[in-house]
């Protein structure tokens, strides 16, 4: 067990670093980046309110003037933050504050400026005294570069996390609470009309893209219901911006429980319906397999009541593979549903990711990817350990 844990933790460390390198490299190796918004602003500001010095200062604050490996290592573990071991390599160039502009004059008189080399290098010694995050491995995700400029990424995530947690938590819980009984009943009454209808619904539910379903929901319950003068549901956001009056329900005040609840209803239903199909199908398959086992036949032969056979003998054993789904659930609850949150304008983690990607806030993107990878790995580890607990035949090796 101990060797298993050590080996697994080591593997997890490597996978995390590989995933971090890949996403960090992908983001920063391409042109454009967190400074884009600032540069556009400078072009539009006319009166030169943002000058080169400002750009340089912001660049240094976000470490964009450092070479990629150095920047990555400072982001990951907050090192190097000055000359190595106190004195080594104080004058090593680790980045470039201003690139060298070279003027090329062609024989035909054309003039072109190209950037080549570096006019002003950043040395290791200059890194001393710069603000640096303690490193992602030590729980410091750095500062947001665009969305909430210069505020810790953790703050940004923390403002969004509660929304995702209660939306995803509620929908996963509902999906399990509704999906498991449906799956059990379908399996017990295999090929009955109920089973047939449920498998068809599950089949359609699993093939339906979430955004189509979400848009249909908005269309029916917000737009058409409102036009018909029926009680309708607000179509987006987690909290309203002004009081609304809904027929039959009455005045809905901004920020009241009713307001939040009405806005929560639609995204939650959509997410529940989409995952419901998966859960019930999973339980049905697993139950069907268990119901054919010898011990179920033995229990029936002993004269155990059918209800007891289903609940005590079959259901309990059919829930063993359930544990495998835990790894996924952990990530789902944290990461939210990117597309559904976007459609409903829900201020959760999923939409934060899309926003951050759109606005090149790479520190936020990286933080979310990192947390996701770690959660997924932890989920898989927990699953493996739980599996040995619920099924003693399996040993960790």
């Amino acid at each position: 067990m101990a060797t298993f844990l050590i080996r697994r933790l080591f593997q997890m460390l490597i996978v995390t670093i590989v995933a971090a390198i890949i996403s960090y490299g992908l983001l920063y190796l391409v042109p454009g980046g967190p400074l884009d918004a600032l540069l556009t602003e400078r072009q539009n500001s006319g009166a030169n309110r943002i000058d080169d010095e400002d750009i340089k200062r912001v660049q240094a604050r976000f470490e964009l003037d450092l070479a990629l490996p150095v920047r990555f290592s400072r982001w990951l573990i907050g090192w190097p933050n000055g000359p190595l071991f106190g004195s080594l390599g104080a004058d090593w160039a680790v980045g470039c504050a201003t690139p060298q502009q070279v003027k090329l004059t062609y024989p035909d008189g054309r003039v072109e400026f190209i950037t080549e080399g570096c006019a002003d290098t950043v040395t290791l010694a200059e890194l001393e005294g710069r603000k640096v995050s303690r490193g992602v491995f030590f729980g410091d995700f750095g500062v947001s570069q665009v969305i909430l400029r210069d505020r810790p990424v953790t703050d940004l995530i923390m403002t969004r996390l509660p929304y995702t947690l209660y939306l995803m938590g509620a929908s996963v819980a509902l999906a399990i609470l509704i999906g498991v009984p449906i799956g059990v009943y379908s399996a017990v009454k295999q090929y009955s009309r109920f089973d047939y209808i449920m498998t068809t619904v599950a089949f359609i539910g699993s093939s339906l893209p979430s955004f189509v379903f979400a848009i249909f929901a908005i269309l029916i319950f917000s737009i058409l219901a409102k036009q018909a003068g029926l009680p309708y549901l607000p179509s987006g956001d987690a909290v309203g911006t002004r009081d609304i009056v809904i027929p039959l329900i009455g005045l809905v005040e901004v920020g009241s429980f009713l307001d939040r609840f009405l806005r929560f209803l639609m995204p939650c239903t959509v997410l529940t319906f989409i995952s419901l199909a998966g859960w019930s199908r999973f339980v049905r398959g697993s139950m069907l397999e268990v119901l054919q086992q010898d011990y179920v036949r033995t229990a029936r032969a002993k004269g155990v009541r059918e209800q007891m056979v289903v609940i005590k003998h079959a259901l309990r054993n059919s829930l063993i593979p359930f544990v495998t789904l835990l790894a996924g659930v952990l990530v789902t609850i944290f990461a939210g549903a990117t597309i559904t949150e976007t459609v409903f304008n829900w201020p959760g983690i999923g939409r934060l990711f899309v926003d951050a990607l759109n606005r090149n806030d790479y520190n936020v993107v990286m933080a979310l990817v990192f947390v996701n990878v770690v959660l997924l790995l932890v989920g898989i580890l927990i699953t493996d350990i739980l599996y040995t607990l619920v099924d003693p035949r399996i040993r960790l090796s």
């Binding site: 996978v15 590989v18 995933a19 890949i22 996403s23 992908l26 983001l27 391409v30 042109p31 454009g32 089949f203 359609i204 699993s206 093939s207 339906l208 893209p209 979430s210 955004f211 189509v212 848009i215 249909f216 908005i218 269309l219 737009i223 058409l224 036009q227 179509s235 990530v331 990461a335 990117t338 597309i339 976007t342 459609v343 990711f353 899309v354 990607l357 759109n358 993107v365 979310l368 990817v369 996701n372 990878v373 997924l376 790995l377 898989i380």
Partner: protein, 330 residues
Amino acid sequence: MATSTTAVPVADIAGGRSESQWQIVVRRFRKHKIAVFCLWLLGAMLILSALAPVLAPFPRDEPNLKTRFVPPFTTDEQGNFRVLGTDHLGRDFFTRLLYASRVSLGTALIATIISSVIGVVLGMLAGYFGGWVDTLISRILEVVATFPIFLLLLILSSILVQNINSVPLPEFFVRFLAWIFTVSEREARGIFAVILILALFGWTSTARLMRGMVLSVRENVYIESARALGASNTRILSKHIFPNSLPPMIVDFTLGVNGTLVAESGLSFLGYGIQDPTPTWGNMLAFAQSYMFQHPWMPLIPSLPILIASIAINYIGDGLRDALDPRQRI
């Protein structure tokens, strides 16, 4: 039935009707009525989209500010009858939908073909040869399984889509795509990028499935006898292992097309997939969504095809699964 290696066809001995493997599959598939109907439906969609340049009543992306938001089945100010209305720039929805079907279905098909070929080949190598090949491929599969795929998919496409013109892509394939989708080469590059991304993330499940299939197929006695007769690895792989592990791959391919179709529309819907002048169901739906409060009919037009195609492909996959599984009685 073990005499099937002799030169005389079994049917001749039995004196009955001769039926090839594929005829049996077709006969069994036709018993699944919904699947057959869905096959016709999808076929009709494919034919319509293939005939897009002939059928389209208007130019694909010519904006016309005088005919914006014309509802379906009405005649606009200029006296043109609009079967499915016009969008926020006054472009004809029916025309764009025809081309969008071409792009969406074509992208899904090509991306799935590429990822299936990669997956089948790698899975076959891993399963058949074992050893370090298997270790390497299995490790890659394991690592990929622990990545947050959807997030990486979004990152990669946001980068590729922004910098598509600086990415070196094989020109002949770009021209091929431009020809298939009747788009300019610039648009074809955008489609190519999305195909690449989808194929890159799609092959792992196929490889895993294929590896498992090959592991079980290669234990059969006929593989042993083929080897005893002196057949080469290439021959065993192509004549014995591949055909015998094909059935689940066909089902996997069908469901893969649906997965890719949904992923592509999702990406395009979020704005990271195929970009606007090129119509796809996903990006048409994204625009329709912003105007759905004033024009509730708008989102229906691009979303119904997604719905129909997606459900149809799933039912075809279901029918194929039943038809290809000899243990299943239908």
